[in-house]
């Protein structure tokens, strides 16, 4: 039994049926079906061992677990349903989350649009109010909360006291958790808030190899991003490339644990060992060759994120996208490659203001063409992007949104999901003003409806390919039911948005 327990709520502690994109369903409120069914769809329970240790766990938690175990602590990740097994030994409870309070994208806009509390927030509250955690707190267990959404605690200070969260760690935790846990175990005074600045981030050699499998075999290939977009927190971190041998070691950890596929994680997979923002074929081909050799023909494979400019540059300069997809990634068992990309805006003026390097090596003026070319390249190569558009970026004008609508029109022929995101103050803009539904303009509503039409049109096709196997039939049917429900009810939400505009 563990002295230091790491956990999170069910929306995070799940492999989402082996389909990472389904995890995003937990960022919305349950609509058109009961909460338990919505939960089953988004975040089914995971397999655990006799100690309640999940076979797959969120990657960031795996890193912290590895750091603590290498430092000699009796620490481990425990599924939220099995925390009670460790109640007698637990002295420190460590929490992590991508979106504790649903203030991040895309949870915040589903919440704003529907007026209903998203599932991830409900699930986290349920965990924190659970009898096991309350009992642990009564017994003097110290609670340390971290992860990518740690910043959200600054907006929920009362809950910090109510739930007895002793420390919040905001930033990369590898270099600070050992000292914090040591202090917590020895009863020394603890800071309430720790911000890990760029200088405190670990060097690549200080980042350990995970010791257990990550959710859907996610493996980090680099940290940080060189593009410097002002709305993004990742870009504030130093850029580090993970050596291939370390990546392969983590691939092996996952495959040995029975995970059936690998997701390469980076803010921009194509920039792995790139020449600045210009992708280089050699490191990318080697990376894919070595990883896919291990994954095998039947294993799953995806990228976390890629940038549109890198996709265009890689294909136009080296034919690299066709080569990677055609020769390494797709086959009879892997029929598409999923990836998240950022459009953010269709306005070159706004690109220049807030993400001047997003279009690099192409100039900001060329951004709409870069986006369209990249979408065409992905469509031709069966790469299916889940793309984001940010509404309400500081400095945005109605004309900027009109340009985004024009660009969305040009993207119609390309297989993709495009979702609106309301601006959330993060990164270099973290002191900025939140974009709330009260700030919606006619142009925003038009842009959102355009994205809705685009995504519901393509979703049907994508669901058929993404969930083509017989085991996924119930999921496929559920999602199609949901899609039909959304189509039937869109007029209701359109009406609500119109009402907001009149106020």
């Amino acid at each position: 039994m563990f002295e230091v327990v790491l956990t999170t709520d069910r929306t995070m502690m799940s492999n989402h049926h082996g389909k990472e994109f389904l995890g995003f369903i937990a960022t919305g409120p349950p609509i058109g079906m009961p909460e338990w069914l919505w939960m089953r769809l988004a975040a089914p329970k995971v397999r655990v061992d006799e100690l309640g240790r999940p076979i797959e766990a969120p990657y960031g938690m795996r890193k912290i677990e590895a750091v603590l175990q290498e430092a000699g602590f009796n620490a481990g990740i425990v599924d939220p349903d099995h925390l009670h097994k460790h109640l007698d030994t637990m002295k420190v409870l460590m929490l992590s989350h991508h979106d504790y309070f649903a203030y991040g994208p895309p949870s915040s806009e589903w919440w704003a649009l529907t007026g209903l509390e998203p599932l991830n927030r409900r699930s986290f509250f349920k965990l924190m109010n659970s009898p096991t955690i309350r009992k642990a707190k009564e017994r003097g267990v110290k609670i340390i909360a971290g992860g990518p959404a740690a910043w959200q605690w600054l907006y929920e200070l009362e809950l910090m006291d109510k739930w007895g969260v002793d420390v919040v760690v905001d930033g990369e935790g590898e270099n600070v958790v050992v000292d914090l846990v040591r202090k917590a175990l020895s009863g020394e005074p603890l800071p309430r808030y720790v911000y890990v600045g760029a200088d405190g981030s670990p060097k690549v050699e200080e980042i350990p190899v995970i010791k257990g499998a990550s959710v859907n075999g996610l493996v980090e290939i680099m940290r940080g991003c060189p593009r410097g977009c002002k709305f993004c927190s990742v870009t504030l971190r130093p850029l580090r490339y993970v050596p291939l041998e370390k990546i392969l070691a983590e691939v092996e950890v996952n495959l040995r644990s029975g995970v059936k596929g690998i997701i390469l994680h980076s803010e921009d997979v194509l920039l792995y060992h790139a020449d600045g923002v210009r992708p280089r074929p050699e490191p990318l081909l080697r990376l894919h060759e070595e990883v896919l050799k291990r994954v095998g023909e039947r294993g799953g494979f995806a990228w976390a994120h890629a940038s549109l400019a890198a996709i265009k540059y890689a294909e136009d300069t080296y034919g690299l996208m066709s080569k990677l997809v055609g020769e390494y990634i797709l086959n009879d068992h892997r029929k598409l490659l999923g990836v998240e990309v950022g459009i953010e805006t269709g306005s070159p003026e706004l690109v220049r203001k807030i993400m001047a390097a997003k279009s690099a090596p192409y100039p900001p003026e060329q951004w709409p063409e870069v986006v369209e070319d990249a979408f065409r390249i992905m469509h031709e190569n069966m790469i299916v992007p889940a793309a984001t558009v940010i509404l309400g970026i500081p400095g945005e004008t109605p004309d900027d949104v009109v340009k985004t609508i024009d660009l969305l029109d040009r993207l119609k022929p390309y297989r993709s999901i495009i979702v609106p995101m309301f601006f959330v103050p993060m990164g270099a803009l973290k002191r900025g003003e939140w974009f709330l539904r009260e700030h919606l303009t006619r142009e925003h509503v038009d842009a959102m409806l355009k994205m809705y039409e685009h995504s519901t049109y393509w979703a049907e096709h994508i669901i058929d390919t993404y969930l083509s196997s017989a085991v996924h039939l119930p999921l496929r049917l559920l999602l199609k039911y949901f899609l039909r429900y959304v189509r039937r009810n869109v007029s209701k939400y359109r009406g609500k948005l119109e009402e907001l505009l009149k106020k």
């Binding site: 600054l154 006291d161 969260v165 309430r192 808030y193 720790v194 600045g197 200088d199 002191r431």
Partner: protein
């Protein structure tokens, strides 16, 4: 993680801009980008509200914020683990802190 952290004790009210400027100056002077900030208020999480602007304005420095109640003040010295201390105070430094710091810590009082 090279130079030791700089300890900053906040007893009196200090504006976020004044605090930011002071931290930048201290960072330059002592060659450290790590700070321990001891905020002496009610010892509650809500006290962090006072430093929210500082946290949201920063992404370079590593900052650990300790929240102390005024009852904790006499124990403050034991919580400070070495290095330099900068005290934001409208008056004299707490005597126990002065006592503890004599000889091994350098105290600078900022009114």
């Amino acid at each position: 993680m090279s130079a030791p952290p700089i300890n900053v004790v906040i007893l009196s009210h200090v504006s976020p801009s004044k605090l930011l400027t002071k931290l930048a100056e201290l960072s330059g002077r002592f060659g450290s980008r790590r700070f321990n900030i001891f905020l002496v208020r009610g010892g509650k999480a809500e006290d962090l509200e006072e430093l929210k602007d500082l946290i949201l304005s920063n992404y370079v420095w590593s900052i650990s914020i300790y929240l102390l109640s005024s009852n904790d003040l006499h124990n403050l010295a034991s919580k400070i683990c070495g290095g330099r201390v900068v005290l934001f105070s409208s008056g004299e430094a707490d005597p126990s802190l002065r006592e503890h710091c004599r000889g091994n810590l350098e105290i600078e009082v900022v009114e």
